[in-house]
Assembly symmetry: C2
Homo-oligomer: 417 residues x 2
């Protein structure tokens, strides 16, 4: 096979075109394939049923490797197996060793077996069966035969398809394509926008021949993507590291909360949270990280003023004097929860998530965030006018990044002493 | 145009094939198009650059309407405009009225204008310009001319594409296709699995000719989708409503938390949460709903045993006797937070999210959830062995549904008195 084979993917499924389901196969397969030096040239989505035939017939003219997902199940609109047998001129043969475990499973659960279910045990002559550890329909691999590209048929449900891909398909593909000099680097950046990043790095990176530079911006973070041969990506990575410095939170797609929990653990520090407008998202993000229980002591979601006073010790008088959305209350919340939980750091948010509750002085999107440490408390006023969930995401992103920078500066202080 | 025109979508973008970005255009467009009776026949993803040409050339042979997203921006790999001009044999003409606002915006922000940026002001002869209120590159519409289908070129960024689609493209499409008798119903079901639902409804629904029945399962919920003409969908909807009853949480894709906040508001009731293993997700889901502040009083994320005692009043003696992951502690947490916050309902979770912390008696995935009401407290033991985030999602889903059923049964009690 040549050095950069043409690889195409066909995803079958009416639900993908109807809009009720997002195609997660493509990003998964794109990343997996890239890891062995393969890139997807084209992807096609067709509904369940006979249109699968056209898509496969067209793709075979163009491609060296073709991956088809879906349409292997037991129901009447699952036609991929039959279509491929017909197109490749192979007979379908019944395989008892495929059906036996299916029969056993159904009998154990007392479900009646129908002829439909038996269809999954038919295999086009000469195809290799790829075992499905998480469902009934096996995958199939037909090696290229001059008229047809290498063809992989995989089940539609992601929890069946993904393990099968890693266990059975990747090893076959590695054997087919050999070693490819293709490398990638992804830098996750927080605290700088896309254009700000481009200004800092693009002129230097443009000088590296064959390097592909890409950006992917999400709320409060940007991934800088470098693709090229190993030498180019290494050279480019050094430039990116030097120019973006502390704005880079990870190089292995770690999330900000993962980095924060890791830094807290390394520093033997702990954290507690007091949230008003972010309503528990801060605690939720931190506790999504395995091992968070060692560093996250307590979280308080104090939506009402009474709760702020009762739980965090924010003086009722202060709230009525300066308002719940204020620098003073943010500070008192952060300090209150820090002391209450006996934590190294206390984080607090108080603001107006909207859609209601804004005023001319404090419009929807206004928020105060505070970070209390053993020695002092920093309060910032931020403004994120947007929908409720984006607001919560942006605010927690900002405050978690404040904490990340705080921990690392404290660590370097300790080191330099 | 005939009653069911062939409609295809081409999404351009290297990042979609590389796997770093999920294609959200397709589900968005699929749903929008369906709302006016159109269905997507095929979708193709191609990388930025010259391969866009092949995809458009092939799609024009098959389709009556073709929508292309991406490749209209200022950079060198944005080629859609030029390719379409070439394929349709139209000249590109400069439009000062497109460039003027771009120039003004750049000058205001002090950014240097380049020739690249000017490319966005070129339009294939005779194309209609679709205004972009959220970015620089306008969309374009070329009406069908015998050799070419109706062609829409839309910008790639979703926050530019989606408003443009609704404001400019939908009205044009409505004019083209007229009125179509196509209807859909989506029932969101919680508390039953896909196969359980199928057993209850499929035999009755199979009798309705032309009805298309689909399922989409997510963690802790299943959407039942009915597609057909208005009469069939109406008939089918009645069957689904009768057979699934209280398992149906909404018919307009409302989330469980939205339904819960709505029910609490209607019942003039309030809630407070005490979370251990779900780490704030319960509070976060509830506070994602606009208006949650009226019914959500306080949330406590008590990860440590000390916090459970200090904040919720769970006796330390109880924890050391039966363990933090126990029915007794779940009950004490729910009752503790209910009283503390002065809420109608108290919710609590305590369990082992994993990956560590499991024991033979209480393996990872074990969890106790409790719901305290003014009159009593219900505790359930559940088992969700899975990754950490799925575990948190499943547990909160179960408990929020308990609360939903509790409120509605209480309401019907009140009504029947």
């Amino acid at each position: 096979m040549n050095a950069s084979p043409v690889l195409e993917i066909i995803n079958t499924g009416t639900e993908l075109l109807f809009g009720s389901v997002v195609n997660t196969h493509l990003p998964y397969l794109g990343q997996q394939l890239f890891s062995i030096g393969l890139r997807v040239q084209r992807q096609v989505t067709v509904p369940d049923g006979a249109l699968i035939r056209d898509a496969i017939a067209e793709a075979r003219e163009r491609s060296d490797i073709l991956i088809v997902t879906g349409g292997l199940g037991p129901t009447s609109d699952d036609l991929t197996r039959e279509i491929v047998a017909e197109l490749t001129g192979r007979e379908l043969q019944y395989h008892e060793e495929i059906f036996a475990p299916i029969r056993e499973r159904f009998e154990r659960r007392g479900i009646k077996l129908t002829d439909r279910i038996k269809r999954q045990a038919y295999v086009p002559n000469g195809a290799m069966v790829l075992v499905n550890h998480f469902g009934t329909a096996p995958g199939l691999y037909l090696s290229a035969d001059g008229r047809f590209p290498h063809l992989f048929l995989l089940p539609g449900p992601p929890r069946e398809m993904c393990p099968m891909f890693e266990q059975s398909v990747l090893p076959i593909l590695r054997g087919l394509v050999g070693k490819v000099d293709l490398s990638a680097g992804v830098f996750r950046v927080v605290g700088l926008g896309e254009s700000g990043i481009e200004e800092l790095i693009s002129s230097d990176l443009d000088k590296i021949p064959g390097l592909e530079l890409g950006y992917c911006a999400r709320l409060g973070e940007v991934d800088v993507r470098l693709i090229g041969d190993h030498a180019s990506v290494e050279q480019a990575s050094e430039i990116v590291s030097n120019h973006l410095g502390a704005y880079i939170i990870s190089q292995d797609s770690q999330s900000l909360e993962e980095v924060v929990v890791q830094e807290l653990t390394a520093a033997q520090a702990t954290v507690a949270t007091a949230e008003s407008c972010t309503g528990g998202l801060l605690a939720n993000r931190l506790t999504n990280v395995p091992g968070a229980s060692a560093v996250f002591l307590e979280g308080c979601v104090t939506y009402s003023n009474e709760a702020k006073t009762r739980t965090l010790g924010v003086p009722a008088e202060l709230i009525s004097r300066v308002g719940a959305v204020s620098a003073e209350v943010a500070q008192a919340m952060a300090e209150g929860v820090r002391i209450r939980a006996g934590a190294t750091y206390g984080l607090a948010t108080t603001g107006i998530a909207g859609p209601d509750g804004g005023t001319p002085e404090k419009p929807v999107g206004t928020v105060f965030v505070a970070l209390a440490t053993p020695t002092d408390t920093t309060v910032e006023k931020l403004f994120y006018p947007s929908d409720r969930e984006s607001f919560k995401q942006s605010v927690t992103q900002h405050l978690l990044d404040d904490l990340r920078l705080q921990i690392s500066s404290r660590r370097s202080e300790v080191r330099s002493q």
